[in-house]
């Protein structure tokens, strides 16, 4: 990274205004930074920090409501805020390219992948058809897609998420741009795929000397890939510097707070007591989905097979796995939101797997669940107070008693008891998740299921909710089933961990055992793929 060279991207004093009526005036305010050739610069921030707005401004793809009001963006010295639409179009994909967060929707579903890359060459080069095709096959090969010829003729829906992201990368890099903008390109991918894509981006940019502007919220990814880091908060650049310095010696309080909120991948030492009574036990639990179709062999999906778990009072059992591993299916079977196809579920001594709806109702109280999406887990039309007391009142509690309990619970989850008569939209995501926890606790359950309950939250908020959950578990001596895809979160909150893959539990043991010395090959691969696993966040040098 020679500093003598001219930077490929220089952003000076950039401000972007939000439309009137938004919660603040600027989406981005007076931000300046540079990206040098061959360098990866990460823009890090929580949601609403304006990091994506910067990326879209550079590409000239901002929504019409947002307007860059001041500053300049120099791409190899050319201010792209002042060049016209025609010139911008010429620059796109030739000098600067962009890849996006959602590979599943970023490709046109009705064109083959080959056609979609071909369009780039058709628009920006004079190559004839044969030369174009050769070039495309070459780039598909370079992004390590198997059988480039077949991929060329495939439609996006025939490929996996990781493969689609490779197509996007191929499309972006086919004309060797000097700048690649990557907007959370691995966020929607599973951890193993993420590791491969990160490796690919790093390899290709080193080879070609491409400057990369990498947008992420994940410090693991930052530690993995960045040369320099810029931390954003609320549209302002808080701190910028080399990765090593930012991660180990951050100067700004916000940066420190953010980094120390990242859970460690090494399991915390938790005194596991093995004496509590068993709250939940599953025996060969299984769930099979079968789509019935005429003239077609029924498609059978085994979402969960032979799952044996047990949780004692005061313990947290984590189920970790990638998407489609069946972890949520298991949780939903246990909460009887779906009916298991085989096996048994013992709640204490009661078998509930095959229990009919009417008989099941009294047992519903004993298992409560907190969902992933804080914006959809409460009825927007009724007050949070009514949401919380609904359950207890279903079981015969009087309204006043239920409300008194709700007030107590609001204090437990550290919210103002006087806000019970407010509606869900008046709370933030983290606050809503606390209310959901309060609603679950109002039932005085024996087992609390948290189904990706902190996955939609920003890292700082996530930390608070995790701490709250753990505190409640200790105080109420609850059994907790914690479903997550995030290894770091699992390492911090679980006493025991079950790793699931393709519907089966492949490894099951205490957190220290599983994280410290994984036995199963899949578990090993999963841990090896965790970004930033070599970095211990939050241990700042003095």
């Amino acid at each position: 990274m020679s500093d003598t060279k001219r930077p490929v991207l220089e952003v000076r004093n950039l401000s972007v205004t939000l439309p009137a009526g938004a919660d603040r005036v600027h989406a981005v305010e007076k931000v300046s930074f540079t990206v040098n050739p061959g360098e990866i610069v990460c823009l890090v921030g929580e949601s609403g920090s304006g990091k994506s707005v910067i990326a879209f401004t550079v590409m000239g793809l901002l929504a019409k409501a947002l307007k860059p009001t001041s500053g300049e963006i120099l791409l190899e010295g050319e201010n792209i805020l002042t060049v016209g639409e025609t010139r911008l179009r010429e620059l796109r994909c030739t000098r600067m390219s962009m890849i996006f967060q959602e590979p599943m929707t970023a490709l046109n579903p009705v064109m083959t992948c080959g056609q979609q890359i071909d369009e780039v060459l058709e628009t920006h080069t004079q190559l004839d058809q044969a030369a174009r095709k050769a070039k495309i096959i070459a780039i598909l090969d370079r992004v390590k897609l198997p059988e480039p010829e077949r991929i060329y003729a495939s439609y996006p829906h025939q490929l996996s998420g990781g493969q689609r992201q490779r197509i996007m990368i191929a499309m972006a890099l086919v004309l060797d741009p000097v700048l690649l903008i990557a907007d959370e390109p691995t966020t929607a991918l599973d951890v193993t795929t993420q590791a491969e894509i990160l490796k690919l981006i790093a390899e290709l940019q080193t080879l070609e000397g491409t400057g990369v502007l990498f947008i992420t919220h994940d410090f693991g990814v930052v530690a993995e890939i960045a040369h320099r880091v810029a931390v954003l908060r609320w549209g302002e650049l808080v701190e910028m510097g080399p990765t090593e310095k930012i991660l180990s010696r951050p100067e700004h309080g916000y940066t420190k707070m953010l980094i120390s909120s990242v859970p460690s991948i090494h399991p915390a030492h938790r005194g596991v007591r093995k004496d509590g009574p068993t709250v939940l036990r599953t025996e060969k639990l299984g769930k099979t989905y079968s789509g019935n179709a005429f003239f077609q062999k029924a498609r059978v999906v085994k979402a969960a097979v032979d799952v044996n778990l047990d949780i004692r009072r005061g313990e947290t059992l984590g189920i970790v796995g990638e998407s489609g591993s069946g972890k949520s299916t298991v949780a939903r079977c246990i909460a009887r939101l779906i009916d298991p196809s085989e096996g048994k579920i013992f709640l204490g001594d009661t078998e509930i797997a095959t229990m009919k709806a009417g008989k099941l109702r009294p047992h519903r109280r004993r298992v409560q669940i907190v969902f992933q999406d804080p914006y959809r887990s409460m009825n927007p039309r009724i007050t949070v107070g009514d949401s919380i007391i609904e359950g207890p009142m279903n079981f015969g509690l009087k309204r006043e008693e239920a409300l008194a309990r709700a007030r107590g619970l609001m204090e437990t989850v550290r919210l103002d008891p006087n806000s019970l008569d407010r509606f869900p939209h008046q709370f933030s995501g983290g606050q809503r998740q606390r209310i959901c926890i309060a609603r679950a606790l109002a039932m005085e359950p024996e087992l609390l299921i948290a189904d990706e309950a902190v996955s939609a939250l920003d890292v700082s908020v996530q930390k608070q909710v995790l701490e709250l959950l753990d505190e409640i578990r200790v105080r109420l001596n609850l059994a907790v089933l914690f479903i997550t895809h995030d290894l770091r979160v699992a390492a911090q909150i679980c006493d025991y961990v079950a790793v699931m893959s393709k519907g089966r539990v492949v490894e099951y043991g205490s957190a220290e055992q599983v994280f410290g010395a994984p036995k199963d090959d899949y578990t090993k691969a999963l841990f090896a793929a965790a970004p930033g696993r070599h970095w211990e966040f939050g241990k700042f040098a003095a």
Binding site: M59, L61, L88, R89, E90, L91, R92, C93, T94, S97, M98, F100, E102, T105, A106, L107, N108, P109, V110, M111, E119, V120, T123, H124, Y155, H157, M168, M171, A293, F294, F295, Q296
Partner: protein, 313 residues
């Protein structure tokens, strides 16, 4: 692919069964002896007995249904005592004007409304967009017969450019045929254009918000290419769907339009049959229109595979 077609075909069976049962029950729901109702007011008791025997009216109701559906499937639609013809003959005689009207309308309306809808979406909020949307609300609101009479008044009576009413067979005098098709097709088109331009605009607007349109722009493609190559093809499926559903409007509109312009088509026949309580004809016409409607929508369903490679199952 073949699988998809077969499964679509099978899905049509219950739909048509319900239609058939309804049409069959129509006659039974009418007060009075079905045979007497069919025979009409001037029938002799011999004629009524004859009808009763043919339809098996002394049998249990499900046997009657089997006999009836069997007759229908063989093209044996019964006899119209009012028109003194078999229903099959009657329909053969009346089908041409309706078919001509429908085809002219469909071509004209689609050719006009899809480009209008695309332009309105592309220039969302512009004067053109407002005009197209305003016209579309108007088109939904003004009934076909009012439009028809307005057109007759302006173009046939005041200006005298076109004949007022009537029909000339296409084989007899092509020019005369065309002259008499202009106003009815225009009349019938209005509602259809309103519907399709609106759905085209909405679908294109929705597609323009998709991530892959952003990708296409990030590639440096021109707006025209983004619109025509990426947006329109993805919007095709909802547009086609609505064109298919719009066939129902077309059929309903044909009944009214034929009456306004004195076209001796199936729509007019339906009204005449209802006015004279000629049930065999009513039943057959309704069954036929429904089958046509279902089959067209089936064909449209199958055509989705041409536009969207994901639809294969």
């Amino acid at each position: 692919m073949l699988d998809f077609i077969i499964r679509r075909l099978i899905a049509v069976i219950p739909v048509l069964t319900v239609v058939a049962v309804f049409v069959f029950l129509m006659l039974r729901l009418t007060p009075g002896d079905p045979a007497a109702v069919i025979a009409g007011d001037n029938a002799t008791s011999d004629q009524i007995d004859d009808i009763r025997r043919k339809l098996g009216l002394d049998e249990p109701i499900w046997t009657q249904f089997v006999i009836w559906i069997g007759n229908m499937l063989q093209g044996n639609f019964g006899e119209s005592f009012f028109f003194k013809k078999t229903v099959a003959e009657l329909i053969a005689q009346r089908i041409e004007p309706t078919l001509a009207l429908a085809v002219c309308t469909l071509i004209f309306a689609v050719a006009l409304s899809v480009p209008l809808g695309v332009l309105a979406a592309y220039r969302q909020g512009s004067v053109l967009d407002r005009v197209v949307m305003g016209f579309s609300v108007l088109g939904f609101s003004v009934p076909g017969f009012v439009i028809g009479y307005c057109l007759i008044y302006i173009f046939a009576i005041e200006l005298g450019w076109l004949p007022v009413q009537g029909y000339v067979r296409i084989g007899v005098n092509f020019w005369g045929f065309l002259e008499r098709m202009v106003l009815p097709s225009l009349t019938l088109s209005v509602g259809f254009i309103a519907l399709i331009s609106r759905i085209t605009r909405a679908s294109v607007l929705e597609v323009l918000n998709e991530d892959y349109i952003r990708t296409a722009r990030a590639k440096g493609l021109s707006n025209r290419v983004v619109l025509m190559r990426h947006a329109l093809r993805n919007a095709a499926v909802p547009i086609l769907t609505v064109i298919g559903l719009g066939i129902a409007i077309l059929i309903g509109g044909a009944v009214v339009t034929e009456s306004v312009f004195g076209l001796p088509g199936l729509g007019r026949l339906t009204v005449e049959a209802v006015l004279s309580r000629d049930f065999p004809t009513i039943q057959t016409v309704i069954l036929m229109f429904s089958v046509v409607y279902v089959v067209i929508n089936l064909l449209i369903d199958i055509s989705y595979t041409l536009f969207d490679p994901r639809i294969r199952y």
